[in-house]
Amino acid sequence: MTAQPDAIETPGTAGEADAPGTAAETGITRRAGRRRAGRGPGDGPMQRSSWRGGGWQVVADKEFGDHVLSIRLFILIVLLGLAAVAAVYSTTTYVRDNAQQAVGSTGLFVLLFSASSPTSQIPPFTTLVALLGPLLGIAFGFDAVNGERAERTLPRLVAQPIHRDDVINGKFAAGLAAIALVLVAITVLVSGFAFFELGIVPGPDDIARVATWVVATVIYVGFWLAFAMLCSVVLRRAATSALAAISVWLVLTLFASLLTGIVADALSPVPANATLDQQVANAQLQLDLSRISPGELYSEVTAYVLDPTVQSVGIILPQQQPATPSILPFEQSLLLAWPQGVALIGLTVVCFGAAYVVFMRQEVRA
């Protein structure tokens, strides 16, 4: 008889014992339990190098390879590429006109991203990205976990010597990398157009603004990636999961302002003979409510970062509007965008955290 392990930890409460996903699988809560050295027949010739950890990188590597070769990446690049070309092309005239007035001033380059010709039907590039970005996140996340279940690869995967959270962390990392790849590619496309077609050379301020915008966009799309992954953990069928994620995206995109308007009117009514204060209170409430939505937060970050003239996205009364907008340096814009940016990161982390926790508690068997 070999010695018994010094302490067999029996599951604490009955409720915990019945929980399907276990601490044993996660390897997190009990990672502390150190083994005694050199024992048992398992430590024979089968022992290998002292390679440890990094399991999530192996998973991420494989997943990223899948993404890069996938048809969905190709479709998304084509879709976003078309949007970029259409938006930038129609903006060109507008930028040319502005160039007459604003030669030498900062912001000409970023105008190409955020402005649109007043006569054009096509919204600016950033608006198109805000609209289509969630699709990008959903595309790389909706079948992350239930796809493994459908292919019946999950039991095999978690039986390899990696921590269970390596699976979901690796998949999230791979998704973010694929998203960043697409966004950087599109941004380079637009920048190249600006340079070669319009001869606009971006200054350091321009580059900082566009780079910050790309980072913010990756985080925003990362929120949708995390949300789609949550769906893929909770819902067993990939099609259902995709539908659920897309539905939420559509509801938030189409009806968010309607919903916040209804709620704001109920909580802070605006009677027919409303005072200015009442109207402002209502509008402020509506704005605060809409900031629950990642899309609103992202659009505010975009407004601050890409438009140096924006000093506030809050309620501005006509008399408060300066006659000639001053141009903020990048650091000032970044400072203004900071709270929204942090809130956006927070939402993304919360969403991924939810997917993580549910996944860790799930039974391996489908």
């Binding site: 019945d18 044993a24 699988e25 027949p41 192996v58 899948d66 095999r156 010597p161 990696i162 068997r365």
Partner: protein, 341 residues
Amino acid sequence: MRSKTSRGERTERTERTEREGAPSIIRARGLTKRYGDVLAVDHLNLDVRPGEVFGLLGPNGAGKTTTILMLLGLSEPTDGHAEVAGFDPTRDPLEVKRRVGYMPDDVGFYGNLTGRQNLRYTARLNGIDPRAVEARLGDLLAQVGLADVADRAVETYSRGMRQRLGLADALVKEPAVVVLDEPTTAIDPAGVAEVLDLIGSIARDRGAAVLLSSHLLHQVQQVCDRVAIFVGGRVVAQGTMRRLAEQMGGDTLQLEVGIDGPAAELEPALRAVDGVTDVARDAHDPRLWRVTGARSVQGRLAAALAGRGIAVWHLRRIGDDLDEIYMRYFAKEGAGDDRAA
């Protein structure tokens, strides 16, 4: 229901597994798993030693998969504990998983990758540089008969081919323990023999302990050194085939005898053999007889009948056939349900 073709005398398993002294590489003591009101595994004790093939045999829902998941640290026992390759799967799941090759029930692979690419991924997840094992991956694929299709996407594989790939996959890490959940279910009969051969050689040549679960007893009995009959979460019998037969039959045995001739002559002739206590005609095949009697009958019957001019063209002991054992335990389980250990 039972196969009528003679399987011949089953070769007696060697008693090499009777090395009682060898330390077991899989040990379970009082292992229990409860899902709500369902007691999926009930105080299981298990010992598997290196170099042996151990069969966990039982019907669907017996708790085989649950047991395997607990041994791998993929599911937490409600009670009891296990030790696999020297580690507690609950506390050191990674150490266990480094040493255990596992093929799940209904194994799946990434359809967009080739068989070889899937194995490479497994190698990398085990911290093995795939370039270092490239040659071995080729060997493994050849061993399971997939050399020709190794570079085809797995989505073009049949289920049986996937199961073979699963076997190769479980061996990628050169495991000290191999756990196979229902390894033969989807494989065609000719393939089953090959796969069982391979499983046997894993234990013999690599010295690994093999724990396999199955509900197809007649398929896996030939490869198992020892078995545990597992019903309703409990082990109702455990040991070598021979031991189980002795436990079961006691001093009596049952023979299936194939002889031709009028029943009126044959039956008295059979009854006349020394030690025979009961004779009955087989319910399905009128040319077969079931003879019950003392152990000594097996040696005497053919000669005694030959002395009366009756040629025996088929003689099979059915007392220690696993199928038979299994059916009997099921019968006991269903009828009495008093075999709680």
